[in-house]
């Protein structure tokens, strides 16, 4: 059998079976994910033997739906299924005792199936369909605890943000299909201004899904969902979709579009890094960090090295999901993820803290963990690319900030003490967490083989390693020694006494950085207000339409009726007035049409 079928159908069948069986919902979900993982393995083995699986389904005329296995898509399918399986194992423990487990596991399975379809998509239409489905399922999952205050709004915000950016993908897909006459991926590149336009539209779509500046706001608010959802969302599914789109479409980008991708990524990595530094909630810190890391991937794509972006995506998938899973254990142990609650949580759970530290250091780029190699590749790509003077400093600044916020989080978890709760289901959670943390640590060894498999040389640049390491360690030192907790207000002065040693550094680096972080926060608020303003404009328009259609006319009629009553007539006459009025509007519409036609015909002659 074609292995593509179980890769998608495995999790999909689980999503159907779970609500039907209702009993032990985790078992079918795990089974589905493992089937998908095995299918991904079979695809990879097939490619190693020189056969590329392809699945053709009837679709629109001339545009059949295709799912294909190439080295890239098979690799991504393995990553999705692998991370999905481990997160589901973790979720068995995390969701223990939740009354809505059936809905949770069914939606998670559906999510994984949709993502498998997205990474394996071989034409624009299936890509669009899968793109919509992951948007829908992430909406359902972020809003999973919809009865809690604010959760529904967060889910809606995530959906609307990503969906407005989806317009870019729709329009780009239409452009490609209209110009090349076929929906097959990878498309032939376009020529002329349409090519740059298409590239920018794809960038827009990716910015929405990958939460790039200025569209990053939704991601932090999406933390309202269960932690396994965040882990999956940030590592291998929703947010990754944007970067995957650009990695797959990189050959189609013109130099201008590439520069735009690189600049958006570079700006995001710095802005989101600063936001992460100013956060006071562990999960929200991790969310901002996700935006920042996807920014680095976009830098690599912009520098013309999609391979480096791919490697960082894979390493980040393992790292970020393990960080979230660790944060989930702390969340259960302390009843929340605010910094005030989490003080010293690491000491109480040393094994979880060890895994969290390993993943955190891997994220910062400490050798020999996986992040070191992939970040090195990204920095090398930025240094060797066409716009090195612009992109390389941004990538290095992003690396520095990564070190700083990782150190800040680790320090917070290590110092202090707090009230502990008993954590049920720690065994399952630990199993999933350990698997991902080991991957986060050890994937570095696989960088060479993966690069060879995906068929491209890794970018090389002299000094990349030195600069990268220097930035990472400087960031770690900064984050550990400088109280990012300066934001704490009244507690700040007390904290200052204990860290006088770092005063100078604090004054010169941390304070401007934090001011900038606050400024970014304000900018974000302003942009948020702007987006809201547009929404409000729409509502106002809608209201005025209603007024024009009903209320205004009604008001007029009532006024007429009142006048009529004083004259002793019956108020019943009002309805004819309404019709008259509306007929007058219709007649005016017809007159406008006629005038337009007359003008057009006069011009025609």
């Amino acid at each position: 059998m074609n292995p593509i079928v179980p890769a998608v159908l495995g999790p999909l069948a689980a999503a159907v079976a779970i609500p039907l069986l209702r009993r032990a919902p985790a078992a079918p979900a795990l089974l589905g994910a493992i089937v998908a993982l095995a299918a991904g393995g079979a695809l990879a083995v097939g490619i190693a033997h020189g056969t590329r699986a392809e699945l053709l389904l009837p679709g629109l005329p001339g545009l059949p739906l295709r799912l294909i296995a190439t080295p890239l898509t098979a690799l991504l399918s393995l990553v999705v299924a692998g991370v999905g399986t481990l997160v589901l194992i973790y979720a068995v423990g995390y969701m223990k005792g939740d009354p809505e487990r059936v809905r949770f596991f069914a939606t998670m399975s559906f999510f994984i199936a949709a993502m498998q379809a997205l990474v394996l998509a071989g034409d624009w239409i299936s890509l669009l369909a899968a793109w919509e489905l992951i948007g829908l399922s992430s909406y359902l999952l972020i809003g999973f605890w919809h009865a809690r205050p604010g959760v529904g709004a967060a889910a809606l915000r995530a959906f609307l943000y990503t969906r407005s950016a989806d317009l870019g993908l729709y329009t780009a897909a239409f452009l490609f299909i209209a110009h090349t006459g076929t929906g097959v991926l990878p498309s032939a590149p376009l020529s002329g201004p349409a090519a740059t336009l298409a590239g920018l539209l794809l960038l827009l779509a990716a910015m929405g899904k990958s939460a790039q500046t200025p569209l990053q706001d939704w991601l932090q608010r999406a933390m309202a969902g269960p932690t396994p959802v965040s882990a999956l969302l940030h590592s291998a599914t929703l947010v990754a979709a944007g970067a995957i789109l650009l990695i797959r479409a990189e050959p189609l980008l013109t130099p201008g579009a590439r520069l735009a991708v690189g600049v958006v990524g570079g700006v995001t990595t710095v802005v989101a890094g600063l936001i992460a530094l100013g956060e006071r909630d562990l999960k929200r810190l991790l969310a901002a960090s996700t935006s920042s890391q996807y920014g680095l991937m976009l830098v690599a794509v912009g520098a013309g090295a999609p391979l480096a972006a791919l490697l960082h995506l894979i390493a980040h998938a393992a790292i970020k999901s393990s960080l979230f899973l660790g944060a989930g254990v702390f969340q259960h142990a302390r009843g929340g993820t605010g910094f005030a609650r989490l003080r010293g949580a690491g000491r109480a759970h040393p094994r979880v803290f060890l895994g969290f530290t390993v993943a955190g250091l891997a994220l910062a780029g400490v050798p020999p963990l996986s992040g070191f190699f992939t970040k090195d590749a990204v920095i090398a790509a930025a240094l060797a690319g066409r716009h090195a003077p612009l992109l390389a400093p941004l990538a290095l600044a992003g690396t520095l900030l990564t070190g700083a916020y990782v150190a800040r989080a680790l320090r917070l978890l290590w110092r202090g003490a707090g009230e502990e709760h008993r954590v049920p289901g720690l065994g399952w959670m630990g199993a999933g967490f350990a698997g991902l943390a080991v991957a986060a640590a050890g994937l570095g060894a696989a960088v060479g083989p993966i690069a060879a498999w995906a068929g491209g040389p890794l970018p090389v640049a002299s000094g990349a390693g030195v600069f990268g390491l220097a930035a990472a360690f400087a960031g770690l030192a900064l984050g550990w020694f400088v109280p990012g907790a300066r934001l704490l207000g009244p507690l700040r002065r007390a904290a200052e006494g204990g860290f006088a040693l770092a005063g100078g550094l604090d004054f010169w680096v941390a304070r401007p950085a934090l001011a900038l972080a606050r400024g970014c926060d304000r900018l974000e608020q302003a942009l948020y207000a702007g987006v809201l303003g547009i929404g409000r404009l729409g509502l106002t328009l809608a209201r005025s339409v209603r007024r024009g259609d009903e209320r205004g006319i009604d008001g007029l009629i009532f006024a007429l009726a009142r006048g009529a009553r004083t004259l002793g007539s019956r108020a019943r006459a009002l309805q004819t007035g309404l019709v008259h009025r509306e007929l007058a509007l219709a007649a005016a519409g017809a007159a406008v049409l006629l005038a337009a036609l007359a003008v057009g015909l006069a011009g025609f002659r």
């Binding site: 209603r546 019709v579 219709a586 036609l597």
Partner: protein
């Protein structure tokens, strides 16, 4: 002569059905009337199947038997039968129940004549026939609200019909013929041509509830029984849209009609979506939503002459009929007020899920029927070099998401009070079940339809 009659078998069957149903009602046998309605309409639809692929005319070119008119039989007759079942679920036992079935048949006949008209007189006849039935249907519930709505609908209809007949007479004067096929000769007299075009747009635009001739729709839908509202939003509307496609097919492009239709299309969908955004009454919300959907239909009309125009109209008409009737069937079971939908997804998961699917299909989310239809419509607009129109339509479908989410979101909230919806009704459930199957299945079966429409 005999050949002409053979081509008209479906329409004749509908006429006979309507008459027999009326006889049943005279004998006070509403159940028999329903059975005759469903069976007659099914037979009529079946008799249209052999006509697939036929491109011909009947009675010296006055009636066209082509893809549009044949598919109109295949879409509108089952939709009418489903509406009749819904009407039974809602109106069983009321005075004049059988009359409703008969009026549904007459109105559907008017829509079929519209969809196949090849002559200006037939066009007028179709508008009048479908309008007269509709007025009576809206007035069925003999109360103040219904009477008011029907009166308004009637006044609006009379004026638009009058304008249409008046304007069409200019076309007849300019070409010397009432045949649509002769419209090519209208270029000789540009003012007459423009006047006629505006008049036809008014007359058919009123039937299809196109802005700014839509004002009657929310009141009429709200005053009518829910089942009748569902019928009115589907059958006469699709008939009028297909009639417009028949008219513009023969109009010279130099007249500028693609631009006129495109402008009305953008106006209609934008206005419909914006107005729907603030409704509290679900029937009125769906009324404005169906105004907006007319705008999407007009994309296919504006692209007439292009290769995708006919297939896109047929596919979207099928999708629209299924998803809109389905949504109205759920409203029939649940209630007209938006508050009645609070918690529906929890208290009745199946109904709730079906409603979500209908609404998502109305938005145009893949892989549902609405997506297939809209995708083809956008493609048709692009193929006719109306890129801006396609972009406006795509923007509108994003806007429409907000409209439909207003129903979906409260459905999964916990209700403040116990659910107040009516008792489940197997007929209504059956209707939305069929509509659901079409809505979900059409995406996959679209190839099947396309192969049978032709350009």
């Amino acid at each position: 002569m005999a050949h002409d009659l053979l081509l008209l078998v479906p329409e004749i069957a509908v006429l006979l059905t309507a008459v027999v149903v009326l006889v049943c009602e005279m004998l006070r046998r509403p159940r028999a009337a329903l059975s005759v309605t469903v069976a007659g309409l099914a037979l009529a639809a079946l008799s249209a199947i052999p006509l697939l692929g036929v491109e011909s005319t009947a009675f010296s070119g006055t009636f066209r038997v082509d893809a549009l008119s044949t598919w109109a039989c295949l879409i509108l007759l089952p939709a009418t039968a489903l509406s009749a079942l819904l009407a039974r679920a809602e109106l069983a036992g009321e005075e004049g129940e059988g009359t409703v079935y008969s009026l549904l048949c007459f109105t559907a006949l008017g829509a079929l004549i519209l969809a196949g008209s090849g002559d200006l007189m037939l066009l007028v006849l179709g508008v009048l026939l479908s309008s007269l039935g509709s007025f009576a249907l809206v007035a069925h519930r003999d109360d103040d609200r219904a009477t008011e709505a029907a009166m308004k609908y009637f006044v609006f209809g009379s004026v638009s019909g009058g304008v249409m007949i008046f304007g069409v007479s200019y076309w007849v004067g300019a070409t010397g013929s009432t045949l649509l096929a002769a419209l090519g000769g209208v270029t000789g007299a540009p003012p007459a041509a423009a006047l006629g075009l505006v008049a036809v747009v008014v007359g058919l635009g009123y039937k299809a509830a196109v802005v700014p001739f839509h004002f009657w729709a929310p009141d009429a839908y709200d005053g009518a029984p829910v089942s009748v509202a569902g019928f009115l939003s589907v059958v006469p509307k699709i008939g009028a849209i297909l009639a417009l496609a028949q008219v513009v097919r023969d109009l010279p492009v130099g007249l500028g009609w693609p631009l006129v239709i495109a402008a009305i299309s953008v106006l209609t969908m934008t206005y419909g979506n914006l107005a729907a955004l603030v409704q509290r009454n679900v029937v009125r919300l769906l009324a404005y939503s169906s105004v907006a959907q007319s705008g999407y239909f007009l994309l296919g009309v504006a692209a007439t002459g292009g290769p995708l125009a006919r297939p896109s109209l047929v596919v979207f008409a099928t999708a629209y009929a299924a998803m809109n009737l389905g949504a109205f069937a759920v409203v029939l079971r649940t209630g007209r007020d938006l508050d009645a939908f609070t918690g529906l997804g929890r208290s009745r998961p199946a109904t709730g899920a079906a409603m979500v699917i209908f609404l998502l299909s109305l938005v145009g989310i893949p892989p549902l029927a609405g997506f297939a239809g809209k995708f083809l419509l956008f493609g048709a607009a692009l193929a006719s070099h109306l890129l801006w129109l396609a972009i406006a339509a795509i923007l509108n479908s994003v806007l429409s998401l907000a409209v439909y989410l207003r129903i979906v979101v409260p459905m999964y909230r916990t209700p403040d009070s116990a659910p107040t919806g009516r008792a489940p009704n197997p007929l209504a459930s059956g209707v939305w079940g069929i509509a659901l199957a079409v809505t979900v299945g059409l995406g996959a079966a679209v190839q099947l339809i396309l192969g049978r429409v032709g350009p």
